[in-house]
């Protein structure tokens, strides 16, 4: 039964990911990306990680996609088709994409992409949040603090860039 659900969600995720890059309208593209993220969250639940599923919806769908949508709305593309900007490069790009796909298939079939199950059985994962918290704040304390520095850099950088352009706008 779980396999069936996994196949359904994986199929839906692949279909909506293909739709992201093939529809003409960028707002539709953003909408299908939201659908893709929701399928990935469902697959996280099948992997016994409801905390990560909720985090995926909370941050990716709730915050990052809102930012994407605001950016897409400012680009003001309307319903025009997006023109191809790099003429004559679609054939090499297609060949590279096929080579990459074959390489990934080979690695999956030969078992090179594998994740060890780890030391937590299903019973220990019931208190999902506490397990993740315990690991995060004892073993992974340095990456945790570095995350805060990364967020600070992102925030300061974004504000500096935006305020600079706003100052130029108001200056003239």
């Amino acid at each position: 039964m779980e396999q069936l659900f996994f196949y359904i969600f994986a199929f839906a995720a692949v279909i909506s990911a293909i739709l992201v890059i093939s529809v003409r309208n960028p707002v539709h593209s953003a909408f299908f990306l939201i659908v893709t993220f929701m399928q990935v969250a469902a697959i996280f639940i099948l992997l016994r990680s409801p905390f990560l599923a909720a985090v995926q919806v909370f941050v990716y769908v709730g915050a990052v996609m809102v930012l994407f949508l605001f950016a897409v709305l400012v680009l003001d593309m309307g319903k025009e088709t997006m023109k191809e900007h790099l003429h004559g490069q679609s054939i090499p790009a297609g060949v590279m994409a096929v080579i990459l796909f074959l390489l990934m298939c080979y690695m999956v079939v030969k078992g090179r992409i594998v994740a060890n199950p780890g030391s937590y059985g299903e019973a220990a994962l019931v208190n999902n949040t506490e397990v993740i918290g315990r690991e995060l704040y004892t073993r992974f304390i340095y990456p945790f603090e570095i995350v805060s520095l990364i967020l600070l850099v992102a925030l300061v950088g974004a504000i500096a860039l935006v305020m600079q352009s706003k100052g130029k706008e108001q200056g003239k």
Partner: protein
């Protein structure tokens, strides 16, 4: 462990289905009489001027969205921390860690405040 989450899938499916059925019922029952004046978007009784999607964007919305992402990630790190506060072995130690985390992000927030990123004009 994951059987309860099936409820989420079922409720989403059921509500979506009911919505589509309501649309369908309304589609059958309502009148349909479109003519050009009725279909123009409303603009206080005048003719609409210019494209609707042109030039409304203020950069303020973009800053709010970026600030929201940063604080969203901060709150999600606070969730597992909050459940570990009464664990006798770890609590003091992780409290100090979290003060450092929140202080670094508070510096970013104060920077945004001072630079005027939170104003609307």
């Amino acid at each position: 462990m994951i059987i309860p989450y099936l409820g989420v899938l079922i409720i989403v499916g059921l509500v979506g289905f009911m919505g589509v059925m309501s649309f369908f019922a309304s589609f059958i029952m309502r009148p349909r009489n479109p003519y050009a004046e009725k279909l123009t978007p409303w603009e206080c009784g005048m003719e609409p001027v210019g494209e609707a999607n042109a030039g409304h964007f203020r950069v303020h919305y973009f800053i709010i969205a970026i600030l929201f992402i940063v604080f969203d990630v901060e709150t999600l790190f606070l969730f597992p921390w909050a459940t570990l506060l009464t664990d006798k072995g770890l609590s003091g130690f992780i409290f100090i860690e979290m003060i450092v985390f929140v202080a670094i992000l508070a510096i970013g927030f104060i920077y945004a405040w001072v630079k005027g990123a939170l104003e609307w004009v």
